[in-house]
Symmetry: C2
Subunit: 354 residues, 2 copies
DNA sequence: GTTAGCACTCAAACGCATAGAGTGCTAACA
DNA sequence: TGTTAGCACTCTATGCGTTTGAGTGCTAAC
């Protein structure tokens, strides 16, 4: 069956009305809208067709229609491909824009705090739940290592990666080192390792570092372990969430067991990586993904939709942002907000880095 | 009216039965218990007295009795003062004990991770929600500062406090420093400030540091700001929570609005400090506090009870742990678990530190 | 192709009766 | 004097049939 223009309009009307009310939409409601001046009967005929096409359903016989996942997919795909249709993206004085600038004007140095704030702002603006992964460092390089004696047989190793990611590690070395030895170790490690990615730190290099460390070879090994740990994915991939309680606003999600499962996933954070998907290597700058209902790869989110985007932070460092909302979420607003945020981040991180 | 032994027993029976079922307890239920061989009528008389004393109430005329806050307070005070009655505290092979040792055997260096794990273990063991504040550093002293050049006009200041608390700060200094200058600054800062508490860093000292820094005085000031920031309460007081979804298990809390408010407070973490109360300066080692219902100083927790304890981490560093549960929580188990955990922490942090 | 009309369906709301748990009170009993 | 059996009473929760109303599909007329 053909999806002509009128059918498309009716589908859109159903989607928008259902977005606002959360209630199934009847033919009368549609017929009263200004740009669809047909009688309820006509609308009903069209709606029967749309149902046959699998784009809408009735929860029960005497109810109005609700968009299906397939219906939403059609709508969302249309949103994402036809740029002109509605996606003004980064333009215009949007709320997130002003908020963002305010929050970034503080020049936060710590990436984590900025990401947390970003999650909070997005959650507040969209009224949905937001999750943000910390940046991926895998492609990153070692900027420098700084060892300092802490006393009590402990050594502080500060490891700095490109993109100004700082990691602390307290190493238990069981003995005290004098300043000179420390200086030697520092120099040896830095001259051998600086500027390398974790893959480039290979066996010959490790052997060389160990040789140079002489009797302190075991300490050097511990430092190298710490370096590997600093690059470690598991550890360097914190996920920040915000606005978890926003889901309480949508009655269709208000089932206690479901909500408990969902909040549990948000608290444990383990599964969120799955929900956000993998960062596509060198994907297009603004690759926005929309997962609708059953498409969401996390069991307890199958009643929701998730919109994800990849953010860039200069130096090739990138991460993911995700918005979790009900299936009837305002996809247009969410996509626009995400695009605007991505653009802003791009702008901010291009200036000071290059 | 006198609270004789039989009345006390009946109160206890009501409390325990209500703990298990969450339903109001009737006279018949009590009379069937082995150690209270009286007819329901007798029990009813006693219950009427207990109600008159304000220790129990009926939700409605034809319902059983439920303990009041006052009834719980009596019970809890009795628990906490009469040590023999039931509080075996740290002894015995409790679940938390074995868990704790497992998790601490990993020798986690990072305090935060340990605290998070502790929250998780406690939440899992008690089936309630747990919150843990990071340690207070106010009384703490500066161990050393390490400045390193990061390039791009940025300086990395690593600030280490007593108790091996490490704070990173990236400072924007707008120029590059050579190694020698950096060494001077490092030396000057450390020789002047090491071993001092934040209160001891006073104006004369600051002037001296600035003088020694010469033309780099403004950089020194920035470092000092960072030091102050590292001591800052707001910043050094993260709160970790775990088991938020455990509250869904207790039907009396299952009101959607209440639960939303509660989870919101747990997510925002701002009010949790209030709930946990202030660390008493040099208070008794195991000062366990129980807040019952309306006694809880946070609005959205007034349907809950909160049990808090102060933990010690050597070097005078201490923080708070809190367990949030329904009013009918198992106070005995919670208090015992907390005492056991405190004792373990004491044991662990005394060994390696002294 | 569009629309008025109408019979039909079904969830939600409502009213009402019933069951059952639990109480307080009184009177009898040890 | 303390304990208990008996009984009337209260109030919630449950179940059930009815009503209401929103919305549909279909048919026939325009």
């Amino acid at each position: 069956m053909e999806l002509d223009d009128r059918k498309r309009k009716i589908l859109l009307a159903i989607i928008q009305n259902y977005q606002d009310t959360g209630e199934p939409v009847g033919s009368r409601t549609i017929s009263k809208m200004n740009d669809l001046n047909y009688s309820p009967a006509t609308i009903r005929n069209e709606m029967a067709d749309l149902e046959e096409m699998g784009l809408i359903v009735q929860p029960h016989t005497s109810a109005g229609r609700v968009p299906t996942d397939k219906g939403y997919r059609l709508y969302v795909d249309h949103l994402l491909t036809n740029e002109e249709t509605g996606l003004t993206a980064a333009e215009g004085p949007q709320l997130p824009a002003t908020h963002m600038e305010q929050l970034l004007s503080k020049r936060m140095d710590r990436v984590e705090e900025m990401l947390m704030r970003m999650a909070q702002v997005l959650a507040a603006n969209t009224q949905y739940t937001t999750m943000v992964t910390g940046p991926h460092y895998k492609q990153n390089k070692l900027k420098f290592i700084q060892l300092s004696a802490m006393g009590g047989g402990k050594l502080l190793a500060v490891i700095v990666l490109n993109g100004n990611i700082v990691k602390n590690n307290i190493l238990d070395i069981g003995c005290e080192l004098d300043q000179e030895t420390l200086g030697h170790l520092n120099f040896s490690l830095n001259s051998n390792l600086n500027g390398l990615s974790v893959e480039e730190i290979n066996l010959p290099l490790i052997t060389k570092v160990k040789e140079e460390a002489g009797e302190y070879a075991d300490i050097a090994v511990k430092v190298l372990d710490a370096v590997a740990g600093a690059f470690d994915k598991e550890d360097s991939m914190p996920v920040y969430t915000s606005g978890a309680t926003n889901i309480f606003k949508y009655p269709e999600l208000a089932d206690n067991e479901k909500i408990s499962n969902l909040i549990n996933v948000l608290e444990e954070k383990k599964e969120l990586g799955t929900a956000l998907g993998v960062v596509s290597p060198d994907g297009s700058k603004q690759d926005i993904q929309v997962y609708i209902g059953d498409e969401v790869p996390v069991e307890s989110m199958k009643d929701c939709s998730v919109v994800t985007a990849t953010y860039q932070m200069g130096d090739g460092v990138q991460g993911k942002i995700g918005i979790i909302g009900p299936r009837r979420m305002d996809y247009q607003k969410v996509v626009e907000t995400l695009k605007a945020t991505m653009n802003q981040l791009d702008g901010i991180f291009k200036k000071p880095e290059e």
